[in-house]
């Protein structure tokens, strides 16, 4: 039975696996799954799919007594469903005998203690079944409860469950990792800065809690699943000596409300930073850098990583950009050195 399940899991050639440890990448960059007719195909749910129902494996995490793990899951689902300007809706579908990585029409969250996971360093793993148009047909999350323990009270033992689930649900919605964040040294240890995006590629460690979304996370889901015209966008092209710069990290910042959002340029040097609250933004372009460098990119960035340009100098746009609700500030081009 186990061998058959494993075979089924391995046979999911159409699925995209996203692991927290070997996380593929980007600034709130939508998860690109292929490149077709010069355009990146973005993984996404259809509007009619919402609310997406998530069914958890029975008992959820054995580390947590009572109903606290269910509440943590509900809270994470609700957080992604409460972004202004986004129609994305996730809901808790109860518990059931579900398995992640199996094409069964059920969007599953499986807490697994299987010995198979002994060799895996991943905390979680997402599986997305995506069709040629980028539409997500099914999504599962595997939680490695074999190597990792979880808590819901911010304790020192294990990882905060809601923090882990919140990040993985972002992948489930079609978000790749985001380089909006940084690593800091606390008590002699390196850890993720608290202000980093939930989708920052490095997972939060024990005692670290990130249960709310950053502006970068919210802009991402609002851009992919825009429900109204309350937000705007900035678009343009990054070039070097007139040639497009692929894989440049474009960061825009609205200082008054501290809105910090980024994206990465496409092979033709184009970019669009969507889902932005109205405001006056400044902009910077820089090469991707660890821990969100080209080697950890996913989607087309992974398959075309040798074309990613990381040798140019960071540059600021020497003007501000006004973002107006419901409109796109286009033609914001920058030539880098």
């Amino acid at each position: 039975m186990k061998a058959r399940l494993l075979k089924r899991r391995l046979s999911l050639g159409l699925m995209i696996a996203l692991c927290v440890i070997a996380a593929p990448v980007f600034a709130y960059v939508p998860l690109t799954v292929s490149f077709s007719d010069g355009e990146a195909v973005i993984a996404h749910w259809r509007q009619s799919d919402f609310p997406v129902s998530m069914v958890a494996s029975e008992g959820l995490s054995p580390d947590i007594s009572g109903n606290a793990d269910v509440e943590a899951l509900r809270s994470a689902l609700n957080t992604w469903s409460s972004v202004d300007g986004s129609m994305a809706r996730l809901r808790y579908g109860g518990e059931g005998d579900v398995q992640a990585g199996v094409i069964d029409g059920i969007n599953a969250i499986e807490f697994s203690t299987s010995p198979e996971l002994d060799l895996s360093g991943a905390i979680t793993q997402s599986f997305l079944l995506v069709d040629d148009d980028g539409v997500i047909r099914e999504a599962d999350i595997l939680v490695n409860n074999r190597r990792y323990t979880f808590n819901t009270d911010g304790g020192n033992v294990g990882l905060d469950l809601e923090t882990v689930l919140l990040r993985e649900l972002g992948h489930l919605l079609g978000l790749d990792s985001s380089p909006i964040g940084e690593m800091t040294f606390e008590g002699g240890q390196q850890e993720v800065d608290n202000d980093s995006a939930v989708m920052f590629p490095v997972p939060r460690g024990p005692t670290q809690v990130a249960r709310s979304l950053s502006e970068d996370d919210m802009a991402a889901v609002a851009a992919i699943y825009a429900s109204d015209s309350s937000r705007g966008s900035i678009s343009g092209r990054i070039t070097r000596s007139g040639n497009p710069v692929f894989g440049a990290h474009v960061v825009v910042f609205e200082p008054v409300d501290q809105v910090l959002v980024g994206t990465v340029t496409m092979p033709d040097g184009s970019y669009t930073v969507g889902g932005l609250p109205p405001g006056r933004y400044v902009m910077r372009v820089e090469p991707l850098k660890p821990p969100a460098d080209a080697s950890s990119l996913g989607g087309i960035f992974s398959t075309m990583s040798d074309l990613v340009n990381s040798s140019f100098r960071p540059a600021f746009l020497e003007r501000y950009v006004d973002v107006v609700a419901g409109t796109e500030a286009g033609g914001v081009n920058l030539e880098v050195q």
Binding site: I180, V251, F253, V256, G262, V282, R284, F316
Partner: protein, 242 residues
Amino acid sequence: MSTVSRLIVAALLVVGLVVVSPAWAQQAQEEVEEVRQAEAQSEAGEDTAEEATRLWSASFFGGNMSAGNPVGTVENPFFNTTFKTGSSSMWGFRASRMMWWRLGVEGEFGRGSPGVNAILTSPGGGDLTKIPYADLNMSYLSGSVIFEAASGRWMRAFLSFGLAGVFVSGDREDSDNTAMGILFGGGVEVPIIEDRFFVRADVRGLRADFGLLGLDRGQLVGLDVDSLSTNAMWTIAAGFRF
């Protein structure tokens, strides 16, 4: 009386006149001087009285205002963003009255449009870029004490210190703000045209805790930058006394 006797009397009279004459002339001269002095004192008295009535002055000025320090900085892994008010021309007017000894009071209104600059640097400190970020108009209304530090026929120098209400407005939402501050500085006044008119040069510092762009009193999250804004100003004024 013989002819000889008459000549002797006449000679004595001449000698007497010659001898007495300097004393008489000196007395007359002294009288003239006294009159002249009296007249001079009278004229001086009239001037003093006229000056004593010119306790008021009013002037209009133009000049420049510019920022002396940042009002806030926002830091994140990608931007160090520092905000400073910019530089612009300014205008205004003053009215003052000397009160007692060398002290007086002065009211002043000034207005300029320095705008706000965002100074962007990379977290490492490089890649400095300054961009005009927002329009900002700044007005102030102050009441100061002035001290006449030096006074001569051709120049007066004075110091001033007072309180100012500062009003800022801009093109950004929530950028209107009002705050109290201090206005300090000094200047030199040079009389022209019979001491009734003058030109005057001033330097001023206007230090106030006003917010920018809807920021909380200029203090941004995670900052240790002084939120007080000091604006330096220089002005040239033309005015009159009355």
